[in-house]
Amino acid sequence: MTSLLTIEGLTVTLPVAGKRKPVLRDINLEIGAGEAVGLVGESGSGKSMTARSIGRLLPPGAQTSGSITFDGKPVLELKGSDLRSYRTEGVAMIFQDPRAHTNPVRSVGDFLTEAMRTNMGMKSSAADARAVELLESVGIDDPKRRMQQYPHQLSGGMLQRVMIASALAVRPRLILADEPTTALDVTTQAEVMAILDTLRREHGVALVFITHDLELAAAVCDRTDVMYAGSIMEQQSSDALDRDPLHPYTAALVQARPSISSTSDRLAAIPGRPVSAFEAPNGCAFAPRCRFAVAECSAGTPPLVAVEPGLSRCIRIDSIRGTMTAGEVSNG
């Protein structure tokens, strides 16, 4: 399968209080056309920064090394009209807070048709018709009336659907969704995920789905990457993540989460707190919090290696695999 998007050895540094600090370390990722990949992590994991790198939305002062290739083109070097077309037909982004990314004084219709009219050169009438079509496809009823409305007249869930519609309007080949449902009610989230999934399959659009919710990513993505402290710790197919985690961090995350079907006396909490790339110690960033850590873990940064059927950055994975989720939680 030829890959649509390839990230190789991506490292990003940002100026923080006058010093240059790493926020992403050696990110490697491959996404094929129509594939859905999840990026899961806590604060400081670098998941958002990865999305921004792909979307060329890094903050000023960011320096990158490594490469991002989209359909053969070097994303990090694109300029001018190449960059514009990358942002329209290439990659579209959906953010967490739709209200922050919509102009409150422009109507929904304006918002949807602007890119179509400007970048794709569509006539107003054609753009309007397509906008109505898109609103219908994201499950918004009475779309013609909605086109006249303003963002403040729509609920969060509806506005997020409008965002999805606008992302699809320009027929991208890849959608970057950064916590698109985090601010929504859980029932709305389920609806929006269903819509995203359907549209993705219908249009053959690839999806990079960023979230802190491991179960959500696992449920809607073919593959999931678990990130910590600016690096990818594990990558494998989503359904195997909780059964057979390839990294102690993944296992710990799975166990730290309370269960909807049973209570436990105490949750298996991970001591300490999640760190950023620049706070990470030498060696494995997770080592200080890991119950399987040994002296070698702090020696040098572990490489991301192939461990059938995925990738792992744990040097001990072969010996500890299968034992990490040991310890039953009590029912009651």
């Binding site: 009610d185 389920a190 269903a194 179960e215 449920a219 730290a256 989460r257 309370p258």
Partner: protein, 283 residues
Amino acid sequence: MANSPIVEVTNLRKVYPSKDDRGRRTDFVAVNDVSFTIEPGSSLAIVGESGSGKTTIARMLAGLEQPTSGSIMLAGKDRSKPERGAKARRQRGRDVQIVFQDPYTSLDRRQTVGDALAEVVRLHFAQDKASVQARVNELAEMVGLDARMVAARPKGLSGGQRQRVAIARALAAEPKVLILDESVAALDVSIQAQVLNLLADIREATGITYVLISHDLAVVRQLTRDAIVMRQGAVVEHGTTADVLDHSQSAYTRLLRDSVPGPGWDPHSIDRAAALAATESSN
């Protein structure tokens, strides 16, 4: 002999006057005739999505919002209306306290943790400086804060640490009831687990009663014994948390549960419209 409930809410109602699309006066019913009781040392979850009224109930319990009608009894006293005057509020504060969702705005950013805690200790217990300090250290230890954190301002603390401070501040009043308004929702998963364990430890040590406002069913399951499910101001289901989640009587509760991602989850299989219609017709 049965303990009398520590929280007794009867026919609670909150109505906001508002205007409809055409500018006519109408009424928005945020909380519609809600009743529940909580035994001392137990815990109740109020589950719902946005607009369910769960936060409004929390605010009325805390004395931040005035009910339109209905009654609230806390520790045997009538607390149906917010108090007037600081002294009366202090007395209510000895019965019920609240921890909010956002760790970043729940603390005065100019105050050190130690000062924030001392302020509240002194408010409720007139004591000399040494005793106040000792109590502050006790509270800090109870929630897992070390000396560096106590001397720090909120800026120097992580989200999880700030929530611990907010919990310590609430506990400083030695309340009988603690309202947790989505108090772990903004925390990372690994930190959330730590704070949930902390809350369980505190309950074991003090016998405090929790009222948990949450949309997260797994957190609800972990922390509470009983639950009520709310939709658009009304209770659609109540019972033990285990029963409400495992043997739900309401299509809406089942919808909520089905909407939670997990192994084998298929968002396409959830028929939201049908569940909501079923809920409407059964109400």
